[in-house]
């Protein structure tokens, strides 16, 4: 049997060699498709991963918990929808029971007037405990483009977004004043020193400043615990859905006196519009894959139909001398299979070289207000395997119909064919 299989492969390979130009053109078409898919997957995938990582690791965290209704009115940063001390304690208890949770950070989100003593503007702020915040969004400190990044923030300091720093001509070390309304409507002011300038990134919260949570309590005259949101970091991003479901189940069972749920929990996907861009990228990747499938299907089927048509007499000969139909089928299926392998192998090698070259040349790009983002395309062995197996599988499927036709051919009719 091994001899038969070997001979089938030998015949298929020699027939591909026999029609060199056709084999070359078809395999190049497959190569082109494979390169397009692998490069698109690697570039878009890396872009997606980079953006998601930036959003979750420097801003949102993987999940957030708010008091019910907070998110719907987040644009006005409502202080009257903050979580109470009791509610925060309950959340802490739930999070402690969840193994997938790596860290969490308590935040107060507030809006304030920002004054450099000459001009005044609006600013949105996240008030945080620095240690908690760095554990939950570790890349936040990398967004500090000027000033000291270690330790993130101390009491009496503020990190201000780039746009405000430029617009208000404020530098690191300058003194500024924040003026904010508290929950009751009274106004309070607080002098702070600019500790650093924060790079703005796309998405909600991407242009917020940062102050110490104790300063926010002073500014807002909060005496007890009041928290706007709890940002959560998971040990493994792959556990996002399960953890979300688990937290949702636990938190939604906690009801107020009216029997309504007290908390709401959201994944970063719900919180960031980039999720829709990521979905678009996934959709485009899907369509590119469909195009690859179509290219392979049409090109291989076309070539194999031609191959069968051109070799009708040969099919008649081998059938007449006793070759079983299944082996005739095998000869043509293996021919398509080898064409798929050839195109895929060349395409994969070219793609990997191109990916390595892009990394070596450190290509950068702009996204929104972010400039100089480094394109660092990567592709996993799993992704390559999926593309390779898809192409080879489709090549075999595309060969089946012509091969079946060859196997079913009447030897008499085939032998008479001129």
């Amino acid at each position: 049997m091994e001899g038969i299989v070997f001979n089938i492969f030998k015949l298929a390979a020699r027939n591909l060699k026999r029609y060199k130009r056709r084999t070359f053109l078809t395999s190049m078409l497959i190569t082109l498709g494979v390169v397009a898919v692998l490069l698109f997957v690697s570039i878009s995938g890396s872009f997606k991963v980079m953006m998601i990582s930036q959003i979750t690791d420097s801003m949102l965290g993987h999940l957030q918990i708010h008091r019910k209704g907070y998110l719907a009115s987040i644009d006005s940063l409502p202080l009257n929808r903050n979580l109470s001390a009791k509610q925060v304690a309950k959340i802490k208890q739930v999070l402690a029971e969840e193994d997938a949770v790596d860290a969490y950070a308590l935040r107060i989100k507030l809006g304030a007037m920002f004054s450099n003593f000459a001009e005044t503007t609006n600013i949105r702020l996240n008030a945080v405990f620095p240690e908690q915040e760095l554990n939950t969004v570790p890349l936040l400190s990398t967004r500090i483009v000027q000033g000291q990044s270690a330790g993130l923030i101390n009491k009496g300091e503020v990190l201000i977004p780039e746009l405000i720093a430029k617009g208000m001509k404020v530098k690191v070390g300058d003194a500024i004043v924040l003026v904010a309304n508290n929950k009751d409507g009274s106004v309070n002011g607080l002098s702070l020193k600019v500790r650093g300038i924060l790079e703005g990134i796309s998405g909600p919260g991407g242009r917020d400043g940062v102050i110490h949570l104790e300063d926010a309590k002073t500014l807002l005259r909060i005496t007890d615990v009041e928290i706007s949101e709890v940002a959560i970091r998971l040990k493994n991003m792959d556990q996002l859905s399960q953890t979300y479901e688990a937290l949702k189940a636990k938190l939604s069972s906690i009801k107020n006196q009216q029997g309504q749920p007290v908390f709401e929990v959201h994944t970063w996907e719900k919180l960031s519009p980039f999720y829709n861009i990521a979905k678009m990228i996934d959709l485009m990747t899907f369509f590119i894959r469909i195009m690859l499938v179509a290219i392979v299907l049409v090109s291989i089927m076309n070539v194999m139909i031609m191959a069968v048509y051109e070799r009708i007499n040969e099919i008649g000969t081998i059938a007449a001398i006793g070759t079983l139909p299944s082996r005739i089928l095998g000869i043509f299926v293996v021919e398509g299979f080898l064409l798929g392998i050839l195109g895929t192998a060349i395409g994969t090698v070219i793609s990997l070289i191109a990916i390595a070259a892009m990394n070596a040349f450190q290509i950068s790009f702009d996204f929104g207000r972010q400039t100089g983002l480094r394109l660092a395309p990567t592709i996993s062995a799993g992704e390559v395997a999926v593309v390779v197996l898809t192409v080879i599988g489709i090549a075999v499927v595309a060969s089946l119909q012509p091969a079946y036709k060859a196997a079913k051919m009447d030897p008499i009719v085939a032998l008479r064919h001129v």
């Binding site: 001979n7 040969e314 059938a319």
Partner: protein, 234 residues
């Protein structure tokens, strides 16, 4: 016991409203190790008869036994297996596989049809190539050898499986006079050496002259069967 026995053999083709009786009530038998020729004008049914004997085309009616098997009831797969085991073919256009060398062409039925072990297979192929005088051409491709050499290779391929019966449809039609004579002589030598039965369909008087039994067909009917003493094995 005859190798081939045909009784009341009929083959009818229907193309739309037209019915063609290609073979009508033909009866004959072929003894083992004989050299038999079916002759007749074009359209007389020679090739159709050979195709039926070769399990390539089932008869419409009648009985046909080859090597003791009723071949009229074989399905497609059984027919292929039967051909692979019992029948060799020599074609007018040689029909060698262009991507295989001479050696590989002869080896093909042993490998792809009968699945012989490699050492035994290669020895057998070498023996057959020597028998047809092509042992030194084994590495060449069909495109690199002459028509006569191709037909020698085709004969070797037909005989390599120890086929009891070789069917040759106009085997000398594409060969020049001298080469045709050499091929007929070769086939006869092979018959003498391996006791294989050769059945031809032919117009070629040189083949007819060498045949021991000549069946003449006309309009699908067997008109005459005669023994030609000149063609008999001594």
């Amino acid at each position: 016991m005859p190798l081939v026995v045909a009784k009341n053999l009929n083959k009818t083709y229907i193309a739309g409203d037209i019915t063609v009786n290609a073979i009508q009530d033909v009866e004959f038998s072929i003894e083992p190790a004989s050299f038999v020729s079916f002759v007749g004008p074009s359209g007389s049914g020679k090739s159709t008869l050979l195709n039926m004997i070769g399990c390539l085309d089932p008869p419409t009616r009648g009985s046909l036994q080859v090597a003791g098997n009723d071949i009229t009831r074989l399905d497609r797969r059984e027919a292929a297996l039967f051909r692979g085991k019992n029948i060799g073919f020599v074609f007018q256009d040689f029909n060698l596989i262009p991507v295989l060398t001479v050696f590989e062409n002869v080896e093909y039925p042993l490998q792809m049809v009968q699945n012989w072990p490699v050492t035994k297979r290669r020895q057998r192929v070498q023996d057959m190539l020597e028998a047809v005088g092509m042992a030194d051409q084994g590495d060449k491709y069909p495109s690199q050898i002459s028509g006569g050499q191709k037909q020698r290779v085709a004969v070797a391929r037909a005989l390599v499986t120890n086929a009891k019966l070789v069917l040759a449809d106009e085997p000398t039609a594409n060969l020049d006079r001298e080469t045709a004579t050499r091929i007929i002589t070769l086939m006869k030598k092979m018959r003498d050496e391996f006791d294989t039965t050769f059945v031809f369909s032919t117009h070629d008087p040189r083949v007819v002259k060498n045949a021991e039994i000549i069946h003449t067909l006309e309009d699908g009917r067997l008109k005459k069967s005669e023994a030609d003493n000149g063609g008999h094995r001594v």
